[in-house]
Symmetry: C2
Subunit: 191 residues, 2 copies
């Protein structure tokens, strides 16, 4: 998606350790106009797939998912990352390793909000090693629902998550695929 | 806001310990159609106040804030709750006590995204004891920006947060104000 690639080129900042900061428009400050364009593109890609629910994970995925959900006219469910008093005991869980924060956490979705028969589109901001995405697929499978696919804002295509998840038979559509990046030379996108 | 009150009456669940679960439409599963109505109402309330930015806090506030931001045509900034590798050192911080999770955490906003001259509307899902809201006001003040006010989905008016923050001179508009609630008799709204 050209608009997103241009924005990453202009406002993304590459840091050592394969960190791509898109904080100024995607995951700290959020440009909702850009998100609307992304939502339209996701509808173009997945609009014929009978999506009944969008699943994302807190926190950065929520904005992208909510704006996109307006185009699909379906509810958003966001997976939560830690136990809190407000989540009931009746949940699907999956254990995920966060490479960014270098720790394990449990991803949880209440059994009330995913059902057999649901056709679920996963939406998230980044795909790198695929840990969160695999956790979300696991939860959808536990519910007996169908993974329609994953709509990702930015895929770090030089890491193995995309291949791993596609090899599981999951359709992934990434709106921007980064082939390589470095602090000196910036971002190169995959064709 | 009648639509939200009706939804809380129909789908909200009151638990012991002043817990109001609105997980099925507001903060685990999200009804984006309802959020759009809330966004329109917030525009009616704050549309003449020259809002340049909407500030919220992860995670549950993000969806409400992003949908509302479409009506104001301004960016959303969401405060983050814990240190991560992806946030730069140059941040405003404020310490907040979470009564739900019974712990203290730091709320952070990058200095890149709040400036003197910004007129900031805070949007959040709940107002109870006001701790998060006071933290967000503190951060806006640190930036030398102006707090236009706070648009809250659900205020627990029987707790002291609303009075405390209004006494600070902050305008709060709550779309639903709960006067009292109990597991037996449900929710009573303030006039």
């Amino acid at each position: 998606m050209q608009l997103l690639e241009e924005r990453i080129r202009r406002d993304g900042i590459v840091r050592e350790g394969n960190v791509l900061k898109v904080d100024s428009f995607l995951n700290h400050q959020i440009d909702v106009t850009l998100l609307n364009e992304m939502g339209r593109e996701l509808l173009r890609l997945f609009g014929d797939d009978g999506v009944t629910k969008i699943l994302t994970i807190e926190a950065s995925g929520i904005g992208i998912a909510c704006i996109a959900a307006q185009y699909f006219n379906v509810p958003v469910v966001f997976a939560k990352k830690a136990a809190s008093k407000n989540i009931s005991g009746d949940v699907y869980t999956s254990r995920v390793h966060s490479f960014t924060k270098d720790k394990y956490y449990d991803v949880m979705v209440s059994k009330d909000f995913l059902h057999a028969g649901d056709r679920v589109l996963i939406i998230d901001d980044f795909l790198a090693k695929g840990a969160a995405l695999i956790g979300l697929c696991d939860i959808i499978n536990q519910a007996g629902a169908t993974v329609v696919g994953a709509g990702i804002a930015i895929e770090k295509a030089f890491q193995d998550g995309g291949k791993k998840v596609r090899d599981m038979g999951i359709r992934i559509e990434s709106l921007a695929r980064v082939a390589s990046m470095s602090p000196g030379s910036g971002v190169v996108f995959a064709e």
